[in-house]
């Protein structure tokens, strides 16, 4: 049997689990303890098959589904296998966690949730397998719809319904752009298979149109500026495993789509496409991280952080396009390797962090950072495992985030070889922007971890917080193990990613990297830059050990006397700690023009002082609200046609008929 067949069996298995969920609609125990772990096992199988497929030749299949004479074409190549691996491997951790997470009374019955969840997984896997526009769009829409229903699990809350609507709206705007893009790509041949699109060579103007449509369409799903507004609404609304799946995996299908269209289906690339992607990516990343730093809801914070990471991915893709357009294959491969590394790294650490917020939410019932704190003692597993995710997310060695951001910066440093002097001057600025983003991301993660887990509990009820269940822990352990392994062994991973870049740009850095052994990572040459994660880990470990010993020996060993007045701090209370608002305040000041901020400061003699600050997105007021008003105005005009009388509706048809007959006659 072909690998593709095995993968299809896994996908069919997910669908079967979903149907089994329908059969046991309200049996929470069965759904959670049997179906979700089975889904995780299937995810593991998918990851294994996908990994094997990376080293295999492309395989194709035709599924006799869909409309008559219009079957689904499927194709498994290196690119789809890579994303299948991401879906499978991340899906394992999330499914295991979900088995311990979903419980009674969350709005949608558990069986239905199980169906939607597995349908979502299956449709994502099918999206990356699709080899014609028809199958792709059907699966893309299935993905959007199943995730919409997952987001609106708690559909009794009006805010959640609104978030779901916004998500669905933007997803469909994107889907229309993608559909138009495929329409341009088939170049009037009427054949919508990807093989035909690959064979066409479009004139430059139409190629640019197709590329821009693809950027818009996939960007809407990924959450680039200014189509990002659904992310911070939908992610907090969804249950945590769903947020993890959406942020960690679904956003990546958009990256897959852009790679497929931009590098595979469109033949020759133009350099300004790369510049456009770079600009959009950088703006998105900066916007995301700045907003993320001032959030006070832990899931919104992570959602904005996802926007930032998507921005970084777009920057990587932009560099890849730029280098590729100038024929610099090796550098293009380096930038793409950085982006793909970040795809898998982000899938692991962002899922991990979203799941951790889920554990915190279940155990405390709080999402607001202002009411959490000191959970490290209550939930040590979740805290330590989130620490791994937080470090990876901040791009600190020796975790996965560092490798990808380092590779990205490396590829920036090579940009000075570009033949365009204007671009050469611009690049240092962009590299500085990336550095700023990385630093702010670190700041945000310090805030996230510090406010939730460190310090003292800010609310009395936090003392009753219970630790996460064993299955939840298992899911978190799986994902954090992924973060650690990706950070410690970049060379084998890059060897695998090499297969994808070979496919996309006809070159890779696998051979260069392998030349230095499997421990030392040097993307171009040893003289230029190299990184040895294990050595780093050893040094970090030794430094920590040394510091601990020294502190214990010299600081705690000293004779200490308690001062009589205790510097005015006879007792510390939780209210003396730095709050989430306080921690984000400098960023709020520095980047003030970016926010639309309303502040209420208490008067000096207020008996019950209240401090309130609301931060909104400018884009709401610049783009979305005017659009909404325009739509409403048009709808009111059109609404005049709707008189509610059947005779008038019939008259409309009658007049239309007469006019059409007249037209047909003349």
């Amino acid at each position: 049997m072909l690998l593709l067949d095995w993968i299809l069996i896994v996908i069919a298995g997910w669908l079967a689990l979903g149907l089994a969920g329908i059969a046991a609609l309200r049996n929470t125990a069965f759904v959670a303890r049997t179906l979700f772990p089975a889904g995780a096992a299937l995810g593991l199988a998918l990851a294994g098959f996908a990994l094997a497929a990376m080293f295999d030749t492309p395989q194709t299949a035709i599924l006799a589904l869909g409309l008559p004479d219009l079957p689904f074409h499927l194709r498994l190549d290196g690119l789809s296998a890579f994303f299948l691996f991401v879906i499978g491997a991340t899906g394992v951790g999330i499914s295991v966690f979900a088995a311990g997470y979903f419980r009674q009374g969350e709005g949608t019955p558990p069986g239905l949730l199980c169906l939607e969840y597995h349908l979502f997984l299956a449709s994502m896997a099918m999206v990356v397998l699709a080899d014609d526009a028809y199958a792709f769009m059907v699966m893309w829409e299935t993905m959007a719809l199943s995730s919409f229903f997952l987001v609106t699990t708690n559909h009794r809350v009006p805010a959640i319904r609104a978030a779901g609507f916004l998500y669905l709206l933007i997803a469909h705007v994107g889907a229309i752009a993608i559909l138009l893009c495929f329409g341009v790509l088939q170049a009037n041949t009427g054949d919508y298979t990807f093989a035909n699109m690959r064979a066409q060579s479009l004139p430059p103007l139409w190629a640019s149109v197709a590329f821009l449509l693809a950027t818009l369409g996939f960007g809407a799903k990924a959450g680039i500026l200014p189509l990002h507004v659904w992310l911070p609404e939908a992610h907090p609304a969804a249950p945590s495993p769903v947020s993890a799946l959406m942020s960690g995996v679904m956003l990546k299908t958009a990256i897959y789509g852009l790679l497929r269209v931009g590098f595979d289906l469109l033949g020759a690339q133009q350099w300004w496409w790369g510049v456009a992607l770079l600009a959009v990516g950088l703006a998105t990343a900066l916007y995301g991280v700045v907003f993320s730093a001032v959030q006070t809801d832990m899931k919104r914070l992570l959602a904005y952080s996802s926007i930032e990471n998507i921005g970084l991915l777009f920057v990587g893709l932009g560099l890849g396009v730029l280098f590729n357009a100038y024929g610099m294959t090796a550098l293009s491969a380096l930038a793409l390797t950085a982006a793909l590394y970040h795809v898998i790294g982000h899938a692991f650490f962002k899922s991990l962090l979203f799941l951790a917020t889920g554990s915190v939410l279940h155990s405390t019932g709080e999402r607001s950072l202002g009411k959490l704190g000191g959970l490290m003692r209550r939930m040590p597993w979740v805290a330590w495992l989130s620490l791994v995710g937080v470090l990876a997310s901040s791009g600190l060695p020796p975790f996965s985030g560092f490798v990808s951001e380092w590779l990205l910066l490396q590829s920036f440093l090579f940009t000075t070889d570009l033949p365009d002097s204007f671009l050469n001057m611009l690049v240092p600025v962009l590299a500085a922007g990336i550095a700023l983003i990385a630093a702010l991301a670190g700041y945000t993660m310090v805030k996230f971890f510090g406010v939730i887990f460190l310090g003292q509990p800010r609310e009395p009820k936090l003392a009753e917080a219970h630790p996460a269940s064993p299955l939840e822990r298992a899911g978190l352990v799986w994902l954090s193990a992924g973060c650690v392994l990706l950070g410690l062994f970049p060379v084998p991973v890059i060897g695998i990613i090499d297969r994808v870049t070979q496919l996309l740009v006809g070159g890779g850095i696998g051979a260069t990297v392998r030349a230095n052994g499997w421990l030392l990572l040097a993307p171009s040459s040893l003289e230029r830059a190299s990184y040895n994660p294990l050595a780093f880990l050893v040094v970090v470990g030794l430094a920590v050990l040394l510091a601990a010993v020294l502190v214990r020996r010299f600081y705690h060993g000293r004779l200490r006397r308690a001062p009589a007045w205790d510097c005015g701090y006879p007792a510390q209370t939780a209210r003396m700690q730095d709050t989430a608002e306080g921690f984000g305040q400098p960023i709020r000041q520095i980047f003030e023009p970016v926010f639309r901020m309303r502040r209420e400061l208490p008067a000096p003699f207020d008996a019950r002082p209240v401090y309130r600050v609301t931060i909104e997105d400018h884009f709401w007021h610049w783009l979305y609200l005017p659009l909404a008003r325009l739509t409403e105005r048009i709808a009111r005009v059109v609404g005049r046609l709707q008189r509610g009388r059947i005779a008038i509706y019939l008259l409309y048809s009658f007049v239309t008929l007469i006019v059409l007959l007249l037209v047909a006659k003349s």
């Binding site: 008189r643 005779a647 019939l650 009658f654 006659k665």
Partner: protein, 219 residues
């Protein structure tokens, strides 16, 4: 004999048209149903004759189907509906009847004008009647527009289907059997659904006046 039969097609066509006008002019629902039954009978007879003259035997089946459906089954259903709803009395129209009749005449002229070039292309024996068939469709449509109650509208709808059927027979010696079967089935299902709707409308508004449906409009 043959030419006499060919002439009789024109006769039945004229009967159809006159019945369509009569339906526009008729206020009483019971009489409307009788007129509709007559129209169905004329249609069945015309189809039978076209089938005999052209030697296309599938038209016999469609004639039989038309007869069973439109002369027996649907009128029985309609009778039962008006009995159950108790709406045999006069119905008001939205426009007064003479005006409607005048509009109807304009429509007939329009239909004939429209059908002339199409009929020239057709080789069918009944091609001269295409204009009449189109006029029947338009007149029935007009009837649906001007009636305020649900039952006459349903009859208008069914009568429009009669016109369409006749147009198909006139222009191309009938549609393929499978299409006709499909349409016949649609009509039957349609009448059942509309019957349910009529009961529902009555239930909701205590009247079959569809002007009440305006309340359903969202402001």
């Amino acid at each position: 004999m043959t030419s006499l039969l060919a002439q009789s097609i024109n006769l039945f066509a004229v009967v159809l048209l006159v019945l369509a006008f009569a339906m526009i002019a008729q206020r009483r629902i019971l009489t409307l149903i009788h007129l509709f039954t007559l129209q169905g009978a004329a249609l069945a007879a015309a189809t039978l004759i076209v089938g005999f003259l052209t030697g296309q035997h599938h038209l016999y089946y469609s004639a039989a189907m038309t007869f069973v459906l439109k002369v027996i089954l649907i009128p029985i259903l309609l009778h039962r509906v008006i009995e159950r709803l108790n709406v045999r009395w006069d119905v008001e129209t939205l426009f007064n009847i003479p005006t409607t009749m005048l509009i109807g005449i304009v429509l007939v002229i329009f239909a004939f004008n429209l059908a002339a070039p199409i009929a020239g292309l057709s080789a069918s024996i009944a091609r001269g009647t295409l204009g009449i068939a189109l006029a029947c469709v338009l007149l029935s449509f007009l009837m649906m527009i001007v009636r305020a109650k649900a039952v006459p509208q349903v009859i208008g709808f069914l009568s429009m289907e009669n016109g369409l059927f006749f147009a198909a027979t006139a222009a191309t010696s009938g549609m393929p059997m499978i299409v006709e079967l499909g349409i016949a089935f649609d009509v039957l299902v349609g009448i059942l659904i509309l019957g349910v709707f009529m009961f529902q409308i009555r239930e909701q508004f205590d009247s079959l006046d569809i002007r009440h449906l305006e309340k359903l409009k969202e402001d």
